[in-house]
Amino acid sequence: MRFLSKRLMHGSLLLVAVSVFSFLLLELAPGDFFEEMRLNPQISTQNLLVLRHRYGMDRSRLVRYARWVQSLVKGDLGFSFSYNSPVAPLLAIRARNTLLLTTTAMLAAWVLALPLGVWVAAKPGAWLDRLASGATSVLLSVPELLLALVLLLVAVRTGLFPTGGMVSPQFGELRFLYQARDLAWHLFLPVTILLLGLLPALMRHVRAAMSEVLGSPFIRSLHGHGLSEQRILFRHALPAAANPLISLFGLSVATLLSASLLVEIIMSWPGLGPLLLEAILARDLYLVIGAIMISTVFLVIGNFLADALLYICDPRIRVE
């Protein structure tokens, strides 16, 4: 348990560090939301001063940080100028959508990568291995941005998939099963893009970890005992290779969040990505900080899950 609580401490320290870092950047930044307003001739300088005072923008940064922490405790996460509302409710629904997209993609990627990587590692040099290594190198070199654009073209040309959004306009009137189908239909393309971005790296690592284990003596002795190939691969070799893969899971959370940010913007998925971009363009800085904090929370949770899995799977950590 000491291991897990230490990791949790680490995660919360990261959150604090990110918030301080964001405010430090804010300190360096020229201009704010009201700076943009100044260009508008219909708003007088007096009004601007009043507005700045009302939102506490004329106070020192330290005071503003303290007040932000205060609003964080209250569950508001600061105030969005452009939406004229607390940040937290704006973020909550977007975060849910991002979570839906990323967890689906993550699950799909691992569900595909594990058996594929294992089978590929089982027969090195076979046609499946060569095909897979060729495909992974090609996919690794195509960035998600280009992948997303190309798949979007396919969607537009064939009309098989929606080109954006999360649900159809008549979503509210559908029955539950049809709602689920509609959602899955909209999920398909963004998930495919994320999957194609994630899968090659995962498969490479699964293959590398597995082929290291498959070379060890205990596998040969299992063969000698006459166990079936599938049982050796999945029951004996895979658990032995699990350790680096679980660490990889923790690392892939950050990659996935980055990719999802971009894919959400391109596919107009109503997640954190479009919100963050809008907030940056409007210089709505508390909203930006809020979105970054939420993504850091996801990251910390993902890493904690990886650590917990490691704790369950690896007795060496438990004993220590």
Partner: protein
Amino acid sequence: MNRRFYFRFGLLLLALFHGVVLCAGFFAPYDFSAQNREAPFARPTQVHFLDARGHFHLRPFVYRCLDGSASCETERSQACPIRFLASTVPDRLGGNSSWHFFRVDSPGQMFLMGTDSLGRDQFSRFLYGGRITLLAGWLAASLSLVLGAFIGSIAGFYGKAWDQVLMRGSELFLALPWLYLLFAVRAFLPLQITPAKAFLLVVAVIGFVGWARPARLVRGVVLSAKERNYVLAARGFGASEFYLLRRHILPQVFGLLLTQAALLVPQFVLAEVTLSFLGLGVGEPAPSWGNLLASLQQYHVLASYWWMYLPALALIPLFMGYQLLADALQERTKVVVV
């Protein structure tokens, strides 16, 4: 044969790409800002070898409609031959170099990748845009390598408190999702600026965000190098710390930095493409690969003008080349990067 072949193939691909982009003034038939208002969203021009009567011409040619419209049947058009290595007087469409790899006699026009909404030649914009994007990638990569080498060697060489502070900082940079970090730093910087300033800003932001990984790797190498016997001997002879770093320790880091460069340059090129694509990077009228793709965010462009995709497809070989190079270098130096 295999590994070396891939390495050389990647290198060749990159050399070709960079060479063509570097000599954009020579390879691009038109200027990047030359507008052609009669032909917005013109299809890629077809290059012909066979004329209407089926005769073969060694010199390829394009058809130009006599009434000036963008497309028409071949009967009502005039054939304009393509001249290679032609020196031309700048015509209506401009072009700042009088030497061009290929050029079509006026009134013919040749748009290899079609034109955009203002009738600007996409192919020329792609080449000129590559200059900006590749330069941004290279500059940002050098910036973060220099920063990383500096911070890493301080952390590794002086250790103790320096090490603690710098490495905790780098953990922060490594842990956060990369694009969020890039956005965060970009978010706090001004939006409405000239393309030149935007370019410098993008380079600075990307370079600043990427220092952490090279710094950690350099730190590792410096840590092991400073305990080597010859370094201890040099120290015993009274060498100054700066001399030790410069003469004995930093040369060890070189191979590592090279591998990192092969990884960072494409990543940073992509970062520039992403930022400009989203309107946070280099803006119009300066071309960059990112803002060439930006028009794809509009649905009607996406649906009707497939050739607007050509720049995106043309980028894939570049990233493939870098991937091959990075793989080969990693294989050689045995640095594993997730």
